[in-house]
């Protein structure tokens, strides 16, 4: 008898989820993979959440949960959020993909937005940012600034997002300076500031005078500042506290416009599942102010490149481009399709070393 009552309770609770949403306030949930105090990825998503609160005031209530491990815990957190009456839930890490889809099946009336994934459903949309567009601008500035012709790159794990960034930066650094060489260090961790500091140090000692990073801490900036004549770029947030030297520009994650737009759609009842992959143009990828340490002409070129990417005149992956092994990838004038870019797991021609598999 007890078992059946539990089962009945479960069915009831799941059935009631729809009814619970019938409040006047729109409830928006956010699930974060790190702490909101990480100063990087999660911090910027939380800034987006705060912007939603600011924009809508009393019409919207936001709830969030930080430090949610991917896998079983994510599925539970999502279910509980849906049970609590959330109308729209943003799941902000790739690893939440399958849990999001699973929970979305149980709650057809709740809308879900999953960041950086590729699985969609009627009530699950996906969104991501074309950070590689920002990498192109960085690559150009880096190629112009380097005097040792060695550019260091601190990467986290060899996932398509990171590889895309390396390729984009390399292509544009090479265009600006044909002699340029990339040294890549894989930290093999998402988060370990001390290791980032050591990696930056190692790159500087081996002659790199520009350092690009796909990790979120300011440790490489500090190492560069100490070395004196090394240039860096801010990552995720502006890192303006290190401007004008060593930080000469930055890539900023700006989720606020997108979040506000999607919340508005839910309020208006016009929300539909779709796949958004926005870049510099719509403002999802911001380019931080190019500092006075960059010569005026280089700055002008970088801004022109940014402008061309923003208004769609130029695609950072435009042929002729070969893969690292020399096989042809894109013909003259051809641009890469999103599918290939999304799953990118190869280097372009000219990069040395291999991608860890």
């Amino acid at each position: 008898m007890k078992l059946t009552s539990i089962l009945a309770g479960a069915a009831l609770a799941l059935g009631l989820a729809g009814a619970a949403t019938a409040q006047d306030k729109t409830k928006v949930g956010f699930v974060f993979v790190g702490p909101i105090g990480d100063g990087g990825w999660t911090y910027e998503h939380n800034q987006g959440r705060l912007a939603v609160e600011e924009e809508f005031g009393d019409a919207v209530e936001t709830i969030y949960q930080e430090n949610v491990p991917e896998g079983a815990d994510a599925e539970r957190v999502l279910t509980q959020m849906a049970l609590s009456g959330a109308d729209l839930i943003f799941t902000t890490s790739f690893g939440y993909m399958d849990p999001t889809i699973n929970v979305a099946q149980k709650f057809p009336d709740v809308k879900f937005e999953h960041a950086t994934g590729y699985k969609r459903a009627d009530n699950v949309g996906t969104y991501s940012a074309r950070f590689y567009e920002g990498r192109a601008v960085q690559g150009h500035i880096a190629g112009k600034l380097t005097e040792s012709n060695i550019i260091g790159y601190i990467a986290s794990f060899p996932i398509p997002e990171v590889i895309r960034g390396i390729n984009s930066a390399y292509i544009h650094a090479k265009k600006a300076n044909p002699d340029v060489e990339f040294k890549v260090i894989w930290a093999y961790t998402w988060f370990d500031p001390a290791k980032e500091a050591d990696a930056a140090q190692a790159l500087i000692e081996q002659g790199a005078d520009v350092i690009l990073q796909h990790t979120d801490s300011t440790a490489p900036q500090a190492a560069a500042e100490k070395a004196g004549d090394v240039y860096t770029f801010g990552q995720a947030s502006d890192m303006a506290e290190y401007a004008p030297m060593p930080r000469v520009s930055s890539i900023i994650d700006n989720w606020a416009p997108y979040y506000i737009d999607r919340v508005q759609a839910v309020i208006d009842g016009t929300w539909e599942s779709d796949d958004t992959w926005d870049g510099i143009g719509p403002g999802m990828v911001g380019i931080g102010e190019i500092s006075s340490a960059v010569p005026e002409d280089v700055k002008a070129e970088a801004l022109a490149l940014k402008e061309a990417i923003a208004n769609g005149d130029y695609h950072p992956f435009t042929g002729p481009l070969n893969k690292q092994d020399g096989t042809a990838w894109l013909a003259e004038g051809e641009t890469a399709d999103d599918g290939t870019l999304l799953g990118m797991n190869f280097y372009v021609e000219g990069l040395t070393g291999s991608i860890p598999q």
Binding site: A20, E70, V77, Q80
Partner: protein
């Protein structure tokens, strides 16, 4: 002057009462903390301890989740408790958990897309063996070279994490996953998956295994010669040697058993609730289980209860975070406090508090 006087035998009444007293003290201290953070303390405490069990909106879902969360903790803690009783220190259950998951998942993925009922039992065996083998490294280094098992088992956790990352990015990466890291999802591979056995109860094979382990450990420690040897070695290594205990075999058994159970926990987790091998598959169960083992006073039934209590604070803590906007850090702090109180008030079951001066006997 306050003085502690050792009781001849632990007080039964206090053994039962101390956990309740600790929870009560935590509610007071935690309430002060939440009030200091500007939240309603009563609501916060109720959300953490009451809502996961009895709230109309959540309980039907949250209650079974207690088992899902507690299952791996209990399974690992039972194994660890055997070694801890004999002063054999396996601090690296996290690593054995990872390797168990990788080995079990590897077998499952190798047979994809088989529909044979044999796949899952084979995965279980591989998972247990994987964890066992990983624990054999510190065990053999200890018995052969007297290398300290604390250091080896702990550092092997980091090695296992690197192997996990490498597997998710390379060998086990889902070929249909568009280049993204992570293996196929076992939830969509029926022959290899570990689903909920009865819908809405949270029971999966890992929870069953945890219960079996509790009973098995209880029988082993109370009814079996080996259990006696384990307890004897912990209390008096010299007496144990006189009683014919062979330390080498005991080290191999205790580390092997705890490794195998941790490996099983990893396998049941990856094929069930977690669903896939990914870079961040592990989330500290192996370390939390050490606390669970001691919180349960290394006793199988105690571990069962301690595991459920830990699970409750996790799930209740999650609810408190998004219902009341408490930061995750406050929940961590709160959990730390609860553990402090639980461990601290334990003194009452072993000691009597005497007030006033020491009297002449």
């Amino acid at each position: 002057m306050i003085r502690l006087e050792r009781r001849p035998a632990p007080s039964r009444a206090w053994t039962v009462a101390t956990p309740l007293l600790a929870v009560a003290l935590t509610m007071v201290a935690g309430g002060l903390l939440f009030a200091a953070l500007g939240k309603d303390p009563v609501a916060a405490i109720r959300t953490i301890f009451w809502d996961p069990l009895f709230n109309d909106q959540f309980a039907a879902y949250s209650r079974p989740q207690l088992l899902v969360k507690a299952g791996p903790l209990i399974l690992i803690a039972i194994g660890l408790s055997l070694g801890f009783r004999a002063n054999i220190w396996n601090i690296g259950a996290e690593g054995q958990y990872i390797i168990g998951a990788i080995c079990g998942a590897g077998v499952g993925l190798a047979f994809y897309p088989s529909e044979s009922w044999l796949v899952f039992p084979l995965m279980v065996i591989a998972g247990g063996l994987g964890g066992w083998a990983w624990a054999m490294i510190p065990a053999i280094l200890k018995t052969r070279f007297q290398t300290n098992e604390i250091l080896v088992s702990l550092l092997l956790v980091y090695v296992a994490e690197q192997i996990l990352a490498s597997m998710s990015l390379g060998l086990m990466r889902n070929p249909e996953g568009g280049g993204f890291p992570g293996s196929r999802n076992f939830q969509q591979y029926p022959a290899a998956s570990n689903p909920e056995l009865i819908a809405g109860t949270g029971m999966h094979w890992g929870v069953v295994a945890a219960f079996v382990a509790v009973i098995g450990a209880y029988v082993l420690l109370n009814r079996h010669m080996l259990g006696f040897h384990i307890r004897l070695t912990g209390q008096s290594p010299r007496a144990a040697r006189f009683a014919g205990v062979r330390p080498t075999r005991l080290v191999l058994f205790c580390l092997g058993a705890s490794g195998a159970l941790a490996g099983l926990a990893g396998l049941f987790e990856v094929s069930g609730p977690a669903g896939q091998i990914s870079i961040d598959f592990n989330q500290g169960y192996g370390f939390t289980a050490i606390i669970v083992a001691f919180l349960g006073r290394l006793h199988p039934v105690g571990i069962l209860l301690a595991g459920l209590l830990m699970a409750l604070t996790y799930i209740g803590g999650e609810l408190a975070q998004f219902m009341l906007g408490l930061p995750a850090a406050a929940i961590q702090l709160f959990q730390g406090m609860l553990l402090f109180f639980l461990l601290g008030v334990d003194v009452l079951s072993n000691f009597r508090i005497r007030l006033g001066r020491r009297e002449a006997a």
